[in-house]
């Protein structure tokens, strides 16, 4: 247990960076069995340290990592990416999916270093925890799926260009077949839409519960998180609609659309922080970096009070 508490973010960040370096080395020098093994070792090391860190955080805060702080929320998102990458490595280690997933994972971990790490420590009762968990889990799964949609879209476009043009550094990329990328893309869209929908519905429900307590009936549409989540949800629904209508005939346009919707994810994740810094200071999920560190999210506190 003492060992777990000594794990720092830098431990898994450097493991992921080492893994990424190996992937980049393979891009330059060609894929090699021993380097692939190194990628696997570094990723497993990073994943174990990452898991240990989240477990420790959860114990210290007495809350699941998703509810403890903005930093934990981002780290859980990165952890999901790492888990997905590890599964892909064990399944198809010859492909260069690490070149796409590892930068995303490391970017999330680095970004997590700049947001609040302090947990609320107040959401102790079961009702608050349950609602909060449902809201946060569905949103984080939705976001992870949207990230996957964007990455698979990007991989599709690069692979498509490689097959069409057959020149340049793209020829060094070993990627899954277009058919697999399209299938993965579709399934992730199908997963993302219900998850984001559930996240939105539970979020609105939490706002409704708070408004009952405070007496104000309006939904804060200008809240950065609500705004960006709604935009991401609309985009994903549009992609899903297009997916269901197009069958298997428009891989490239689907991939382009997926990549654009991934841009929206970036806005969704980074937006709240940027906007809350410049706005009034308190967003629906805890407001600015410094303020969110000071206390729990308001709707979760509201639910806690209702459940009392």
């Amino acid at each position: 247990m003492d060992f777990l508490s000594r794990v720092q973010i830098s431990c898994f960040l450097f493991s992921y960076l080492a893994s990424l370096s190996c992937e980049l080395w393979q891009l330059v020098r060609g894929r090699h069995g021993s380097v692939r093994a190194l990628v696997l070792v570094f990723t497993i090391a990073g994943f174990v340290a990452h898991s240990a860190f989240l477990i420790t955080r959860s114990r210290v805060e007495g809350l699941p990592p998703l509810l403890a702080s903005q930093q934990d929320w981002l780290l859980v998102l990165a952890w999901l990416g790492s888990l997905f990458f590890l599964m892909l490595l064990l399944w198809r280690s010859r492909h260069a999916q690490g070149l796409f997933l590892l930068p995303t994972i490391t970017a999330l971990v680095i970004y997590a270093l700049f947001v609040s790490a302090e947990g609320s420590g107040t959401l102790r009762n079961d009702a608050g925890r349950r609602w909060g968990m449902l809201h946060a889990a569905s949103l984080v799964l939705g976001m992870a799926s949207v990230a996957g949609v964007a990455l698979s879209g990007l991989m599709y476009l690069l692979h498509h260009s490689r097959l069409k043009n057959r020149r340049g550094w793209l020829m060094r990329l070993t990627l899954p077949s277009l058919e697999i990328l399209v299938t993965v893309n579709r399934w992730l869209v199908i997963v993302a839409v219900p998850c984001l929908t559930a996240g939105l519905i539970t979020g609105f429900m939490l706002i409704f519960l708070r408004s009952e307590r405070t007496g104000s009936a309006s939904v804060p549409w200008t809240d950065p998180t609500i705004l960006t989540t709604v935009i991401a949800w609309l985009a994903m629904t549009a992609v899903l609609w297009r997916t269901l209508r197009s069958g298997n005939r428009s891989g490239r346009s689907m991939a382009t659309l997926s990549l654009l919707s991934g841009g929206l994810l970036l806005v969704t994740v980074l937006g709240p922080l940027a906007l809350s810094r410049s706005s009034s200071g308190k967003g629906i999920h805890g407001g600015s970096v410094s303020e969110s560190a000071a206390g729990p999210s308001e709707e979760l506190l509201a639910v806690e009070e209702v459940s009392r």
Partner: protein, 426 residues
């Protein structure tokens, strides 16, 4: 130790000569091993016979009177009934370290016509198995071939010598078709023309699980033959446009002198059946498909022979870049192997030397104990320890010299001297 290889391979001999000297069936190999045993009962033998090489590996433990190149050429001449002067100039012969290194290079596919091709290691394995079945192997060839297979595995793991595909058909399927489709059992393949290239490509596609194959050819008879061979069905030339629209993979290898499928024709065919991904392999020269077909939509992937050859060449270059690393592994493993063999050669002499000197010590001690029976156990132990130390100190210089000499090769001269100086003849 004597290891000798006599090789008739694609570097020095044409296919006609190789065919005449080949051991083309297991029956022939059995007969060859049987003939060899009658003429060289003390020598070990492994025969490696493939399309590109006929190689005879002989080995024996004798210091002299080992098998020589002439013995092998006589054997080949006698077995195949080919006068030896018709092939001796096309043979390559190596002995000792060079022979070992040659086998390692062959097993690692460095000496193959297609560098890094994977079949050779199985052919070496099979040759070794047949030799074992015919009781032609012995301690030396066992160690040699097992080591060769180990080196081959090491080279494949530690270098990229076997990476990438280098034949048109394998590149077409392995690098392009598999980059587009993840599975082939649900794909429809249309073959236009029924040439060798189409057949080879279909072999690769079949190995990926393709089940629905339509063969469309001007000559019905040739189409029937190919369809029967690959388990497909023959399509009438009049249904070509329908098939162009529905096929997922199109392989075209006709001998037509003008473009067979124009952009308008393909566009019309595609319009009827939607825009699913289609992989077109135009292996004909001149091309059967108009190049602008590739730009009809994003899901049309058209490759001609030049595009595939370009990839083959790139992969070939990548493999050639690995030769240096592979050779360095082979060189170091050849050293390791030769060390093992040299130590194995010196082992029996060292054993006999120790045994002989031990016998002398025991005899002299027994004589001493008989003369001086009053020596108690402690005193006897002290005397035995002293004698043992003297023997070890006397043995140390010749054994060290033997060890040093063995690093550079079988120390035949020194072994002979030690035998003559220290070990009495039986």
């Amino acid at each position: 130790m004597n290891v000798l290889v006599v090789s008739c391979n694609h570097h020095l001999a044409g296919v006609q000569l190789r065919e005449r000297l080949a051991f083309s069936s297991e029956q022939k190999l059995q007969e060859a091993y049987s003939l060899w045993r009658t003429s060289h009962p003390q020598s070990e033998l492994v025969l490696l016979s493939t399309c590109n090489r006929v190689e005879i590996y002989c080995a024996d433990d004798r210091d002299d009177h080992g098998v020589e190149v002439n013995d092998v050429t006589s054997f080949l001449s006698q077995f195949h009934r080919v006068p030896s002067d018709e092939f001796t100039s096309s043979l390559l012969a190596h002995s000792g370290v060079e022979a070992v290194s040659h086998l390692f290079e062959v097993a690692c596919s460095i000496d193959s016509m297609v560098l890094g091709e994977p079949q050779i290691v199985n052919q070496v394995k099979e040759a070794y198995r047949v030799a074992q079945d015919n009781a032609a192997c012995g301690p030396l060839t066992n160690v040699l071939f097992q080591h060769a297979l180990k080196v081959s595995a090491q080279v494949r793991t530690e270098t990229a010598l076997a990476d990438g595909r280098v034949s048109i058909a394998s590149v077409a399927v392995g690098e392009f078709a598999k980059s587009i489709f993840s599975r082939f059992d649900n794909k429809q393949v249309l073959v236009i023309g029924a040439g060798e290239m189409a057949e080879e490509t279909l072999t690769y596609l079949k190995s990926e699980g393709v089940q629905r194959i339509h063969v469309c050819n001007r000559s019905r008879q040739r189409a029937d033959e190919l369809a029967a061979k690959v388990g497909g069905e023959v399509a009438d030339i009049s249904s070509l446009d329908d098939l162009l629209g529905t096929a997922d993979v199109i392989v075209s290898t006709t001998g037509a002198t003008t473009t067979l499928i124009s952009e308008e024709r393909f566009r019309a065919a595609r319009r009827k059946s939607g825009g699913h991904p289609v992989f077109i392999l135009d292996l004909a020269a001149p091309r059967d498909f108009e190049p602008s077909i590739a730009t009809i939509d994003d899901n049309v992937f058209l490759y001609d022979i030049d595009a595939l050859e370009e990839t083959c060449e790139r992969n070939r270059k990548a493999r050639h870049a690995e030769i240096h690393r592979a050779r360095s592994i082979i060189a170091s493993q050849t050293d390791v192997f030769m060390q093992e063999i040299y130590h194995r050669a010196t082992g029996p002499v060292i054993h006999r030397l120790r045994e002989h000197w031990g016998d002398i010590s025991r005899t002299e001690l027994d004589r001493l104990y008989r003369k001086v029976p009053e020596l108690d156990t402690e005193q006897r132990k002290a005397v035995e320890a002293t004698i043992s130390r003297i023997v070890n100190k006397l043995l140390h210089p010749p054994l060290e010299a033997l060890k040093d000499e063995a690093r550079a090769g079988t120390p035949d001269g020194l072994l002979s001297a030690i035998r003559r100086l220290f070990i009495p003849r039986d």
